[in-house]
């Protein structure tokens, strides 16, 4: 096949060698990636396939809308809570329920703690091994590592030569045991890894420190939500009642001791992000700043819904502390408002997805979404239906649908939010971005890259950690002013509900823009649809042939060794893919479940 140019401006050429990565590991869920390399090992075609599907939306049909948060929270245990938050917002929107200010502050603290936790764990435990080589850390000089640590982060207490010697010794014993565990079969001799041994040792040390510390970040959610993973939520507010000094305050969900606990964790979280995560991003980014592949759609078409309402119940862009808007065709000077109720804006397409529409030339708005599974491989696929050797991207090839905003394939996530925020002149985002670019000595264009995506995530974690403090202070001030309300239960009883309503809830999940659309009839769920971040980013081609964000970001990347495509992992991981999120979708007509067609 000769090269074709997609409507969104990418030249695809499938004539070169096909390379398959399945499974793509260090992600949530399951996915497959195939690329074609030209004679110089440059990616000239990219195909991203979501390889799991669970069907949660048909399971929701007929259930109590007040229970929906618990079901959809189980869409994803990594971004745990963000679907639950989006769900209670959708139900509250449908029923016209206003939540108390304290509930808004507590929800924001929980959501912000997720942003920090998810971003931190993503960088150290899912992404770092694309840049950091733990094996060469064994060759590091502990004293030089100590000096490096003290240079990049003078305030971090764990920086002595003896400390790094101990970690290195533990690592050496681990490697020498022959039981390499998670490090087994990595691409450790690949020249794509360029960090000096000392930087590798420092990063591996922080891999372990972050693994220890991440568990503390989430204890904030255990206080407010009772457990983590999967804390508890409530339509109308939050379930954790406040009792500061009344009778039986000691047994109340929230009292002075509980708030003190949260306060201490928030402080320590801010410190860890500032002293470990951010300096590591700068240090590692400094060694890789010549590797500016992976921009994809980030400099062209990005989308954000916004999140973190300052005041309760106001979801207008001006009240949202995370930015919202859409940018298309690289025109950063023009940020469009996004209306999730407008049937012409968000639509999902399925000509390349394993679902069936009556008319697949058209997209459907989620309130009217239908999804009938249809697992079938294209005529050009190699292998069999249960032993796929090669996907045929000209036909259906993914369990992910193709959502589009006014017909455009969009990138979502921390980088999309930062591009939108930067374009809108958000002072905090501009300051963070400009400072980071200046520190690394790179131009603004460097932001539109795999590394830019990874850096934006870290900057957002820093922002989120600090905003936790803002909302904790706000919560305490509100309680001090005499308002201890946490839930509005005036419409909790289904008997108070209208016969038929519909609503939409949205948030910014760690991985990007997230929205749920609900229809309620006779107090039960009639239809429930989610369009999630990885549906946007991991989308297959659409009816026009536009490629999605993963596919676009892989294009034109040079791979050092075709048989060890760490560059593919780098760019895919920079999106922090969440496949369980993206591939759960099925609509109200799904009672007759998937039909399998064998070629």
């Amino acid at each position: 096949m000769t090269a074709v140019v997609t409507p969104n401006g990418f030249s695809l050429d499938t004539s070169g060698k096909r390379v398959v990565v399945d499974p793509v590991t260090r992600i949530e869920g399951h996915m497959r990636c195939e690329v074609n390399l030209d004679a110089d090992n440059v990616i000239r075609n990219a195909v991203s396939t979501g390889t799991m599907w669970r069907g949660l939306e048909v399971i929701l049909k007929g259930r109590d809308p007040r229970d929906a948060w618990a079901f959809v929270q189980r869409i994803c245990g990594v971004c745990t809570g963000t679907h639950a938050l989006t769900s209670v917002r959708a139900v509250e929107d449908a029923l016209g329920i206003a939540i108390p200010e304290n509930a808004n502050s507590i929800r924001n603290i929980m959501q912000l703690s997720l942003q920090v936790h998810d971003h931190l764990v993503h960088f150290y435990h899912l992404h770092a091994l694309d840049w950091v080589n733990p094996i060469t850390a064994l060759a590091a000089d502990p004293k030089a590592t100590s000096e490096l640590q003290q240079t990049v982060s003078p305030h971090h207490p764990n920086s002595s030569p003896g400390y790094f010697r101990d970690i290195q010794s533990r690592l050496r014993k681990f490697v020498e045991s022959g039981q390499l565990g998670p490090f087994k079969n990595g691409y450790w001799t690949n020249p794509a890894y360029v960090l000096p041994p000392e930087a590798n040792l420092m990063a591996v040390t922080h891999y372990l420190e972050a693994l220890d510390f991440q568990r503390e970040i989430m204890t904030v959610r255990t206080i407010f939500g009772g457990k983590d993973t999967h804390p508890n939520w409530l339509v109308g507010g939050v379930p954790c009642a406040i009792n500061m000094d009344g009778p039986m305050a000691a047994g109340a969900p929230i009292n002075m001791e509980r708030l003190d606990y949260v306060s201490s964790i928030v402080d320590r979280t801010i410190t860890f992000v500032n002293d470990v995560y951010i300096p590591d991003i700068i240090a590692i980014g400094g060694f890789y700043k010549g590797w500016l592949y992976g921009g994809g759609l980030s400099g062209k078409s990005v989308l954000a819904y916004g999140c973190i309402p300052d005041k309760a119940n106001d979801y207008s862009p001006a009240n949202l502390m995370m930015p919202s808007g859409a940018i298309v065709d690289g025109k950063l000077q023009e940020v469009f408002p996004v209306d999730l109720r407008d049937p012409g804006q968000v639509q999902e397409f399925v000509p390349h997805s394993w679902y069936k529409y009556p008319d697949e030339t058209k997209g459907l708005h989620p309130w009217d979404g239908i999804t009938e599974p249809n697992y079938v491989l294209g005529a050009g696929a190699k292998g069999t239906s249960t032993a796929i050797e090669q996907i045929d991207e000209n036909a259906k090839y993914s369990w992910i649908k193709a959502p589009r905003w006014r017909g455009h394939a969009m990138e979502v996530g921390p980088l999309a939010r930062y591009v939108v925020g930067y374009a809108k002149g958000d002072p905090h985002i501009k300051e963070q971005v400009d400072r980071t670019l200046a520190t690394l000595g790179v131009p603004l264009e460097a932001l539109f890259s795999t590394l830019g995506r990874t850096a934006a995530r870290a900057l957002e974690a820093q922002w989120a950690a600090e905003k936790q403090r803002y909302f904790l202070d706000k919560l305490i001030a509100n309680i001090k002013a005499g308002d201890s309300a946490t839930a509005n239960t005036a419409k909790f009883d289904p008997k108070t509900w209208p016969k038929e309503v519909k609503g939409v809830g949205f948030s910014e999940a760690p991985r990007g823009a997230l929205a749920h659309w609900i229809r309620i009839r006779d107090t039960r769920i009639e239809n429930y649809q989610c369009v999630v971040p990885t549906t946007w980013n991991g989308s297959p081609r659409d009816n026009q042939g536009n490629i999605g964000a993963f596919e676009a970001a892989l294009m034109n990347t040079k791979v050092a060794r075709a048989e060890e495509p760490v560059e593919i992992l780098r760019t895919l991981h920079s999106f922090d893919p969440c496949l369980a999120c993206s591939t759960h979708v099925i609509g109200p007509d799904g009672q007759q479940m998937a039909e399998v067609t064998v070629r």
Partner: protein
């Protein structure tokens, strides 16, 4: 080649013998064992090589892995570096693609019959198994292969144990819990249910297996008795309010602020077997009821299909033969100003205690 033991690792980290002994005592306590067992744990930690584990992921949400890394004692870091050899876990492993998949074959060749298969999530049987694809093939194939050669299976969480959310009505993919997967080799299976299971319960199960080289004692449903033999209700700190007929009638009411019993707003604690009210969550910090939300029963088989979460269990005995929570609650509401009513409430409590014992 020298093989590192848990104790050597801890010592090299600068942990004193005294701290190590304390860790073993805490682990023994967490496992519900007598102090005498602490020495046994110490001996095991000092001498044993790491246990090979293949941790497979089917249809799931990764909440079990996320819970696991939140363990306070032992820390996930120490489990991974010092207790087990986590040779395959696609969520955290460095390798990808065929380099990842070859590890399963290598592990089978090297440790045939001697590795643990840890299952998170479950396989779908519909769509030819292709609604969960690994390496271009159904996850079912990977699962069957790994199971055929393992020593034993751990079913992490409610997905692997019971089916969980994707198996809720009408179960579109025919997601199937591990012990019901057709064609799976007959191996010992330990179920650790919960959505997710408590972190310290997960790591304690691993620590028990590594320490004693056997599975903990299981109940008739295959769950470790040490963590799943009591209902949330049995050890709930709000139980005295249940017995006294003091209930939360609506969220954020005065009862909610006083920590009254959540039974009337739907708490499934009386029918849920788990360690939430004893071990609690995230290092013993809290559990759902303490934070004001009713238990949704997430460790029970089919909990998604047992009625709406905010509807109370229809008739929980424990108030005497005739009384229900409505009657008792009504009595308690009157009791606020009347001694006679308080007395009636206390009588009900006595009857409740007797009856609860008989209900077991």
């Amino acid at each position: 080649m020298t093989v590192e033991t848990f104790y050597q690792v801890m010592r090299r980290q600068g942990i004193t013998r005294r701290s190590f002994t304390k860790f073993c005592s805490l682990t023994a306590a967490a496992l519900g064992l007598s102090p005498a067992h602490a020495q046994q744990i110490a001996t095991a930690m000092e001498t044993k090589p790491r246990l090979p584990v293949l941790w497979l992921h089917g249809l799931e949400c990764t909440c079990c892995s996320e819970s696991f890394i939140r363990s306070a004692h032992p820390l996930a870091k120490d489990v991974i570096l010092s207790m087990i050899s986590l040779d395959y876990d696609d969520t955290i492993m460095a390798a990808a693609g065929h380099q990842a998949e070859s590890i399963i074959d290598e592990t089978i060749a090297k440790y045939n019959g001697n590795y643990i298969l840890a299952c998170e999530g479950n396989p779908p049987l519909n769509q030819e198994g292709m609604s969960c694809i690994i390496g271009g093939r159904p996850y079912l194939e990977q699962l069957r292969k790994a199971a055929a050669n393992c020593k034993a299976i751990i079913s992490w969480g409610s997905c692997a144990s019971w089916g969980c959310v994707q198996a809720a009505r009408p179960n579109p993919t025919q997601a199937t819990p591990i012990h019901k997967v057709p064609g799976l080799a007959p191996k010992p299976i330990i179920k650790v249910p919960g959505c997710p299971p408590i972190a310290e319960v997960m790591t304690a199960v691993v620590a028990y297996i590594v320490t004693f080289e056997r599975f903990p004692e299981l109940d008739a449903q295959g769950r470790p008795k040490m963590f799943y033999s009591q209902r949330i209700h049995d050890k709930c700190y709000r139980r005295p309010h249940f017995d006294a007929g003091q209930f939360v009638e609506a969220f954020d009411d005065e009862g909610a602020r006083r920590g009254y019993c959540l039974y009337k707003v739907g708490c499934k604690g009386p029918t849920t077997y788990n360690a939430c009210s004893t071990v609690r969550w995230n290092g013993g910090l809290s559990f759902p009821i303490q934070a004001g939300h009713p238990c949704i029963g997430c460790s029970e088989d089919g909990f998604w299909d047992k009625g709406d979460f905010y509807n109370r269990l229809s008739r929980i005995h424990g108030f005497g033969i005739e009384a229900t929570a409505d009657e008792i609650g009504g009595t308690a509401a009157l009791a606020v100003g009347g001694l006679a009513a308080v007395h009636a409430g206390i009588s009900a409590v006595k009857r409740a205690r007797e009856k609860t014992g008989a209900d077991q």
